[in-house]
């Protein structure tokens, strides 16, 4: 019961200790760029935020609603390409381009999701892989968007309006804010009726349908939310790296990675993808930095092993170990 005058807490039922830990982590992260100037570590943190965002986006559809997609790079790529092409052709601000990219991703995800959601289980998973590959091939062969060569973004004066900066710190705060916004949305979704409907669709679709829940509608809602955040991540990536091509924003490997992050951390949990990214991204970056080049795939080797262990021993992911569920 909510007592009159009592403050509505965004994190209810959390004991003081957990709250204090989260608060300290937040403060450390908020002031991190003030103390650490090493570009490598700032870059690492930006990537962790970005991949937490992407893993969290995948998690809405794959974790909460239980529809495993292995083609989510499509929506990341749509975000990156939409804002970039609007900037190049119409000189539109990347911030508006980001919203346009999100809208494009939502529309495409609904158009693709509507027929595919009739498929169950493995059929759906393979269909998402097929869609991912088709979109990849189409972009490679589409000259207007640069084909296999890709597109360079124009270098504009560094400012918040142009979404371009000379230093890494502003990107850090933007990624941090995006991740925060997404966590808040996911949290609100989890606690609202949507969260319960998603879980019903995931755990027992037949029972959910017999209770009068329009399963396809809720799968589509989850898909749209998921695609939107993927696209936001795509625009951020384009503005951060200032170069996009199909190999960097639409590859199958990206689809696999965002899914692995959520699985590793814990599917269907708010903090799972953050935890997954906080482990996987440093693993990738350090193995790349210290074991020579990105070609060794040592990080993926460890990933694959972890995923198998989790599937066999602890399907609830690392969050399941922490919360002992």
């Amino acid at each position: 019961m909510q007592e009159p005058g009592q403050k509505i807490s965004l994190i209810p039922n959390v004991n003081l200790k957990t709250g204090a830990v989260l608060g300290v982590i937040f403060l450390v992260l908020a002031f991190f760029p003030a103390f650490v100037s090493s570009p490598f570590y700032l870059h690492l943190m930006i990537l962790i935020f970005l991949y937490s965002l992407l893993g969290g986006a995948w998690n809405i559809l794959g974790g909460y609603a239980g529809q495993v997609s292995l083609g989510h790079a499509v929506y990341f790529g749509l975000g990156a390409y939409t804002s970039t092409m609007l900037l190049l052709e119409l000189n539109l601000s990347p911030w508006l381009g980001m919203l346009a990219g999100g809208l494009a991703a939502v529309l495409v995800s609904l158009a693709l999701g509507y027929p595919c959601f009739r498929l169950r289980g493995h059929y759906f998973v393979i269909a998402t892989i097929a869609l991912g590959e088709i979109v990849f091939v189409l972009f490679v062969n589409w000259a207007w968007v640069g084909g296999a060569v890709g597109k360079y973004l124009p270098i504009l004066p560094a400012s918040l309006a142009s979404f371009q900066f000379a230093r890494k710190a502003p990107y850090y705060y933007i990624a941090f804010a995006f991740l925060g916004a997404q966590l808040l949305c996911t949290y609100l979704m989890e606690k609202s009726y949507l969260g319960y409907y998603f879980r019903a669709v995931k755990d027992d679709p037949d029972a959910a349908r017999s209770l009068g829940i329009n399963i396809t509608r809720y799968k589509l809602v989850a898909m749209a939310l998921s695609a939107f955040f993927m696209a936001v991540g795509g625009t951020f990536y384009a503005q951060y790296v200032l170069y996009i091509d199909p190999e960097s924003v639409l590859p199958m490997m990206l689809s696999i990675q965002v899914c692995l992050i959520a699985i590793l951390g814990g599917v269907g949990t708010l903090w799972g993808p953050v935890l997954g990214a906080a482990i996987m991204i440093p693993l990738s970056e350090f193995s790349r930095a210290y074991l020579g080049g990105g070609g060794t795939a040592l990080d993926l080797l460890i990933y694959g092993l972890l995923i198998m262990i989790i599937a066999v021993a602890k399907p609830s992911g690392l969050m399941g170990i922490i919360t002992r569920k």
């Binding site: 239980g66 495993v68 027929p115 595919c116 009739r118 498929l119 289980g121 493995h122 059929y123 998973v125 393979i126 269909a127 892989i129 097929a130 869609l131 590959e133 088709i134 091939v137 189409l138 490679v140 062969n141 199958m252 696999i256 692995l260 699985i263 599917v267 070609g295 060794t296 795939a297 040592l298 990080d299 993926l300 080797l301 990933y303 694959g304 092993l305 972890l306 995923i307 198998m308 262990i309 989790i310 599937a311 066999v312 021993a313 399907p315």
Partner: protein, 291 residues
């Protein structure tokens, strides 16, 4: 239609049929596992990659021709399949589907990156093979190793088909696929049958891999495209259907080949993926699957 065009069409269809035989065998392995236990082996393409690397390594170490190495590769793959079942699949048999997907998916990532870690991403090729060159058949020039591969694939396919339909163990396998409980009441050990299905499934790609290594590049990512073509083939033929895998394999082979010549080589796989989507959306049980 000019004579040149019809010659190209004949050539393309023949090449497509040869590829189709190999696709059919790879798909057979996938469909046997799925038919018996309702699990999709996402690492199936990586099993193929492993068998290609085995054939390659036997050639580098001992100078063994891939065709001679074939029985050895097949046996290794059979036990690899059984081992995968015992270590990775048995624990998730009754787990949610999500855990089953992650298990074989984790294996996919693991095997692919292990190959990249050990051998780098380079493309390799067995330089000198016993059977090489090309022959002319009905005006079409066909690579001899590819002809051998197609013939070998069909022999293996026929052997597996006969094993499943004509032997007592094969009947037991079918019984488990049909109804696990009823089979158990008849005294069939379903655990052994599951292990056998994985063994046969992996042995199929063992044969296919050794045959492919005879004329195709060996590289860590090679399983990605063949694995996906196998999913498409199995979906087209009907999950669990053995004759379906055969006909679907040939259809996919010819379609992909024609699309490569008449649309755009870079779009040929996209065409195959579109076929998958159309099939599962319009006729989800495939050409010959049971409803």
């Amino acid at each position: 239609m000019s004579e040149a065009t019809s010659a190209i069409i004949v050539q393309t269809i023949f090449t497509g049929l040869l590829w189709g035989c190999i696709y059919a065998l790879i798909a057979l392995g996938l469909t046997v596992i799925f038919g018996v236990m309702d699990i999709v082996n996402f690492a199936h393409g990586e099993f193929l990659m492993a068998s290609m690397f085995l054939a390659y390594l036997f050639n580098v170490w001992w100078g063994l021709d891939p065709l001679l190495a074939l029985p050895l590769v097949t046996i290794v793959l059979f036990f690899f399949g059984v081992g995968t079942y015992r270590v990775l699949i048995r624990p998730v048999l009754n787990a949610p589907m999500l855990a089953q997907i992650f298990a074989t998916f984790g294996l996919l990532v693991f095997l692919r990156s292990l190959a990249q870690f050990l051998f780098s991403a380079d493309y390799r090729m067995i330089e000198t093979v016993a059977v090489g060159g090309r022959v002319e058949v009905l005006g079409a020039f066909l690579a001899r190793p590819q002809l051998v591969a197609a013939a070998g694939a069909m022999i293996m396919f026929a052997l597996v088909y006969l094993f499943i339909t004509k032997t007592k163990t094969g009947w037991a396998l079918q019984a488990v696929a049909e109804n696990k409980q009823a089979a158990a009441l008849m005294g069939i050990n379903s655990d052994r049958m599951f292990a056998l299905a994985w063994g046969i499934g992996a042995a199929c790609v063992g044969v296919a891999g050794a045959l492919l290594a005879n004329f195709y590049y060996v590289f860590p990512e090679v399983g990605a495209i063949f694995g996906f073509l196998a999913f498409v083939t199995v979906a087209l033929g009907g999950f669990g259907s053995v004759p379906g895998a055969f006909f679907a394999g040939l259809i996919i082979g010819v379609t992909e080949s024609l699309a490569g010549v008449f649309i755009l080589p870079s779009l040929k796989y996209a065409v195959v993926f579109v076929i998958y989507l159309l099939v599962v959306l319009i006729r989800p049980r495939g050409l010959m699957g049971t409803a």
